[in-house]
């Protein structure tokens, strides 16, 4: 069973951060259409700070399992947009699962999709159908939790569910967050928070895949 140490967890964060950095402009444009155009900046800068603080903490000898709490603080301080407290709560929740562990079993990591979904739901109180990132995190969490399959397969399913959730937001009228003020005017646009959530989940899958080459349980 592959164990990830702190450096490797930071590397996982880095994979996500890179994808979000690449999507910065695109996410900004999605947010520009129905919000305030800063979602690309928020996610890219937020994850960049997660990587930086995570790397510093790992260098100081922080345990792998404690890096999630470090990430939560970093994200919160870097991002003042709505996504700041939401992802901070997500990281916080995942951190509760692994607190104190010097290494984390690769097989355990898909579970953070469920943690993220719970942390975000607790803080934001949005529900599927509100046209938010919850339209991605909720179905992805369900897919990732199907016990009958191996971790990589569960991640694959989560990616598919995430993409479906993201695309479904196009047909929704926002009822939570900044875009809610546009009401029907938000119809026809993909929700930026849903788009970035799908990117995170796909990056997580790709970053974990090498450690999970065993495939189905």
């Amino acid at each position: 069973m592959t164990q990830l140490d702190a450096q490797q967890v930071v590397f996982l964060f880095r994979v996500i951060a890179r994808r979000l950095a690449d999507a910065r402009v695109e996410l900004g444009a999605l947010d520009g259409a129905i919000g305030d155009a800063d979602h690309g900046t928020a996610m890219a800068d937020g994850f960049a700070m997660v990587v930086q603080s995570g790397a510093e903490a790992a260098a100081r000898g922080t345990a792998a399992g404690d890096l999630f709490a470090v990430a939560a603080r970093a994200f919160l301080n870097a991002v003042g947009a709505t996504s700041g407290p939401l992802y901070a709560s997500a990281f916080m929740r995942a951190g509760q699962r692994f607190a104190g562990q010097t290494t984390i079993a690769a097989e355990e990591l898909p579970a953070i999709i469920g943690d993220f979904a719970e942390g975000i739901a607790d803080r934001g109180k949005a529900r599927p159908g509100d046209k938010t990132m919850m339209d991605v995190w909720a179905p992805a969490a369900r897919a990732a939790s199907l016990a009958a399959e191996g971790p990589l397969a569960r991640l694959d399913r989560a990616v598919v569910a995430a993409e479906g959730g993201r695309d479904a937001t196009r047909a929704m009228a926002a009822s939570v967050g900044r875009a809610a003020r546009l009401a029907e005017r938000s119809l026809g646009h993909v929700d930026p928070g849903a788009a970035s959530a799908a990117i995170i989940i796909a990056a997580l899958r790709d970053g974990l895949a090498p450690h999970l080459s065993g495939g189905h349980n």
């Binding site: 520009g32 919000g35 305030d36 900046t41 928020a42 919160l76 003042g80 947009a81 803080r123 967050g177």
Partner: protein, 333 residues
């Protein structure tokens, strides 16, 4: 769009540093918490602390409303982004002088979550915190869902009422209820002639045709509710005022305070033309005008456009509005 900036990523910090230097007699940053700006004069034992805040890009808000008779502290975020709980908590600790603290900030989910997190942390330190989430922007949601509305330039009135109430040593409960009333009686609506351009991109945050205006815009580059052809100043004033009066339904003889606010790059000449029309209309309706503010009080970078705010006064609110105060953006002797 040309801008007088250095590295775009430094714009917010550099402008804040400039503000702290320019107004060093009035405000300062807390040591170790550069985004918590506090009043040098005003906070004192037994006085309710007033903490305001939100993103940068609205200069002179929020630091401009920190001072005696106004807020005790402001937490300032990055461009159009809420401050994190850290500086809000630091501002809270500074402002708490044993009588509790009132948070006042605009209704944006980022701000709500961050101020809530700070309030939870403050509660752990036994600081009594109440939150007033301002919702003056009538364009941002129908009247049936007033609680979903954005908080925008009307904040200036609400900050002023809060500062005066606390300055008169009213207890936390009283401060809270009077400020809640001020929020319920404040109405704002804005329109943009040109969008603003963030320093990072130096590009307009949305596109408007050469003859178009956007009605009902927010102060973070959010689109409004409808786009239309450029109209005259009087028609623009009427459009904003009609919507406001339709909700306020004042009686003849009522008093209001008026704010004609530049969203950033609209110069004084245009603002005063609007104000003139607003005054004509109010006079015709038999509504008294207690006082007027005209200028860049609550901006959205270099957006061209204007917002109109009316505070529907009652005698107590009128008295609080004219109480003395001293801050970078508002001084009443």
């Amino acid at each position: 769009v040309k801008k007088l900036i250095n590295a775009p990523k430094d714009a917010v910090d550099e402008a804040l540093k400039g503000a702290l230097l320019a107004h060093e007699r009035l405000i300062m940053a807390l040591p170790d918490t550069p985004r918590a700006i506090v009043a040098k004069d005003g906070p004192r034992a037994g006085k309710v602390g007033i903490v305001i805040g939100g993103g940068a890009g609205h200069e002179p808000s929020f630091w401009g409303y920190v001072g005696r008779g106004l807020a005790d502290a402001a937490a300032v975020g990055n461009l159009f982004a809420s401050p994190p709980p850290g500086p809000i908590l630091a501002a809270t600790q500074f402002a708490d002088r044993g009588a509790g603290v009132l948070y006042i900030y605009g209704n944006f989910s980022g701000d709500v979550m961050n101020f809530d997190m700070a309030a939870e942390l403050a509660a752990e330190e036994q600081i009594a915190v109440r939150s007033i989430i301002t919702t003056d922007d009538i364009a941002s949601s129908p009247v049936e869902s007033r609680a979903a509305r954005r908080g925008v330039a009307g904040n200036v009135f609400i900050f002023k009422i809060a500062g005066a109430a606390a300055d008169r040593m009213m207890p936390l409960d009283t401060c809270e209820s009077v400020v809640r009333r001020a929020n319920a009686r404040t109405y704002t609506m804005g329109l943009a002639l040109e969008p603003g351009s963030p320093p990072e991109t130096r590009r307009p945050s949305f596109d408007l045709g050469p003859d178009e205006i956007e009605i009902g815009v927010g102060v973070h580059g959010e689109l409004g509710v409808v786009r239309q052809k450029l109209i005259s100043a009087d028609e623009s004033a009427d459009l904003l005022l009609d919507r406001i009066l339709a909700e306020m339904h004042p009686s003849e003889g009522d008093q209001v305070a008026v704010l004609v606010n530049s969203l950033g790059s609209t110069p004084a000449m245009e603002l005063y033309i609007i104000l003139r029309r607003v005054r004509q209309r109010l006079k015709a309706r038999g509504i008294g005008v207690h006082s007027c503010l005209v200028g860049p009080y609550y901006t959205s970078l270099d957006m061209a456009g204007v917002s109109l705010s009316l505070l529907h006064l009652d005698p107590e609110l009128a008295a609080l509005l004219e109480a003395p105060c001293r801050s970078a953006a508002l001084t009443l002797p």
